[in-house]
Amino acid sequence: MRKAELIMAIAMGIASAGLMWKSAELPIGWIPREGPGGGAFPFWLSAGMLICCIWIIVRWFRGYFRFHGETPYMDRETLLVFLTGALSLTVMVGSIYLIGVYGAVPLLLIFYMRFIGRHPWSLTATLAVVFPIVTFFFFEIILTITLPKGLTEPLFYPLYDIFL
């Protein structure tokens, strides 16, 4: 657990320095008759972030985080749960470009319900069909928010003709 504290602080410290550098693309000082430059606000806040990270790192070296003991940041089971969640979502969002929301949604449902939850195919298939239909009517017809459809777009033309 203690190592995770240090790694996070270093990673965030690097990100803070990057933000400072990026903010400095705009003036960070005082501009006569205009006030603070456009980059001043994010620059000094990023500097604050960096100071906080240094503060955390100093505390780490002084043994502040010893109270965590030897508890691991993530045990094997937790890591598996986390990776399953994060990777399945990443694959789902990535696949939206290709098969659209209405292709990706059933895939995620099938993955979670059938392969992780071991629910029967009948329940899985019902939700995998019903949920995208409800999503379509709620977002596209009622809210008129068009969701990305990727290569499946032409399949929706007849539905547009009927409902929109």
Partner: protein
């Protein structure tokens, strides 16, 4: 008299058919969301906010307000029936609610929680009605320096009263403020913090993307880890005769409910405090006041009534600074505030003069939402129990999908969906190391207002920071902010001296 007239007009708005339907739907949805382990009002409001673009702003805020209330009521259900708090605001309810359920008194605990929530919610709306208009009048005299001082006070409250690790809280506030600066510079219009020249950054980082990422995706990852989807639901045996007997039993909790309501309301007003510390404090006071404090933690009904009245009262209290000063009192009200900006409303004291219909419609709807929450809560208890039995392997993907679609809807840009995913994952990893996430959401909402008021103030004063101490109101608020900022440091030295 003027207040009563406004309130009457507000009721006419709240009881319009559309708004009444939205209140009923909102409290029902909120109750279900609140009852789910790991999900609370903030998750419900964040995930469902994009769905309110269909209705007028007044109806939208009434709907979200109803979800907020419903979720506060619902949080107790999983605390009592599962022993897992529906949200952090219902943690204290678990202390006595769960032992009551285990000893076969789940019905008494659920009825006490619902009734206490109603008492807390209603009393706090009465207090809100009395305090909001005069506070808004005072706030009308505020200029940019006072506004910035208020923003600083909101952030300082998180440092002084938040109870989290100090450098991590500072970090969370700073990162939220930096994220709010992405896009175009508010004064010069020049592009700012456009990473890798990705066009999606030009429209900035929508607060909703961050809120759904943290409170939707991050929260589900957290719940998947902590619960592993396996929970034990207590048995519930509720008949009409038992219901009446339980209602009569509540006589002994009247003083506790009143105490919880007043305490919760005033704690809720403080930006960083909100419902969780409010309910914990009420529990502590109820225990101290009781003749038999040793019975607390073993199934004392007052241990359910105190936190439940307090957390509902605090949820109303947190709306007071949001509507009158433009400063949210809790993460949920921070999201509501962001929603108001999206709907084209300017949060702050002018709302009371420029948007009376909106403000009083909302206040009146809170009275209605309270009553309906009580009725829906009591009527649907068996349905909530059924929902609690739904395996998390079904709920998790559905919530994930709602998050992704909800994150896409406001800007209709896949860039925001990726950002939301990133925030969810990083937020989860940071939360595991006790980085508080609520200040980040508060900061991204208040960031643009804070930057504008700071830059305007410095322009007025030609770069002199003395403007924040020369004006009496700004100076007083600044002094409070500084006291809160240095409070942890003071505690540290006092503690060291005692040792």
């Amino acid at each position: 008299m003027e207040i009563i007239n406004h309130l009457f007009d507000g009721f006419l708005i709240a009881f319009e058919p559309l708004n009444l339907i939205l209140i009923v739907v909102g409290v029902t949805v909120g109750l279900f969301i609140g009852a789910m382990p790991g999900l609370g009002s903030v998750n419900g409001v964040a995930i469902l906010l994009p769905m309110t673009f269909l209705v007028p702003p007044t109806s939208a805020v009434i709907f979200l307000g109803a979800i907020y209330y419903g979720a506060m009521y619902g949080g107790a259900i999983s605390s009592i029936m599962l022993g897992i708090p529906g949200a952090s605001t219902a943690v204290a309810t678990t202390f006595d609610g769960r032992p009551m359920a285990r000893s076969g008194q789940a019905d008494a605990a659920l009825i006490a929680a619902a009734t206490a929530s109603f008492v807390g919610g209603t009393l706090s709306v009465v207090l809100f009605t009395m305090f909001a208009p005069p506070l808004a009048k005072v706030a009308l005299a505020f200029g940019s320096p006072e506004e910035f001082a208020l923003m600083l006070l909101a952030f300082a409250t998180f440092i002084g009263l938040g109870g989290d690790d100090i450098p991590k809280t500072f970090f969370s506030i700073f990162i939220g403020l930096v994220l709010s600066a992405v896009g175009l510079d508010i004064v010069s219009g020049e592009p700012r913090l456009i990473f890798f020249d990705i066009p999606g950054f030009f429209h900035g980082v929508n607060f909703l993307v961050l809120a759904i990422g943290i409170y939707g995706i991050g929260e589900i990852l957290w719940t998947l880890e902590t619960n592993k989807g396996e929970v034990e639901v207590s048995r519930l045996d509720l008949t009409f005769k038992k219901f009446v007997a339980n209602m009569i039993r509540l006589k002994e909790t009247i003083v506790t409910m009143l105490m919880g309501s007043f305490l919760g309301f005033f704690v809720g007003i403080l930006p960083a405090a909100g419902a969780t510390p409010g309910s914990l404090m009420a529990y502590g006071v109820a225990k101290t006041m009781d003749r038999n404090p040793e019975t607390f933690g073993k199934g004392n009904i007052k241990g359910v009534a105190a936190p439940e009245s307090a957390n509902n009262a605090a949820s109303t209290g947190s709306m007071l600074p949001m509507l009158t000063l433009g400063i949210p009192g809790s993460p949920t009200t921070a999201i509501l505030l962001g929603g108001m900006v999206i709907w084209g409303l300017e949060p702050g004291p002018r709302l009371f003069t420029d948007q009376t219909e909106f403000v009083w419609g909302l206040i009146a709807s809170l009275y209605a939402a309270n009553l309906l929450s009580l009725l829906v809560n009591l009527a649907f208890i068996p349905a909530f129990i059924w929902v609690l039995r739904i395996p998390f392997t079904i709920l998790a993907p559905i919530i994930f999908i709602l998050c992704i679609v909800g994150g896409y809807a406001p800007t209709q840009d896949m860039h925001d969906v990726w950002l939301m995913l990133l925030f969810g994952v990083v937020g989860y990893l940071m939360r595991k190391l006790d980085y508080p996430m609520a200040p980040t959401v508060l900061a991204i909402v208040l960031g643009p207002l804070a930057e504008t008021s700071l830059r305007q103030s410095l322009l007025i004063s030609h770069g002199s920071a003395a403007i924040f101490v020369e004006r009496p109101i700004a100076a007083a608020i600044m002094a409070c902010a500084l006291i809160l900022l240095f409070l942890p440091l003071l505690k540290f030295f006092v503690g060291k001296r005692k040792k």
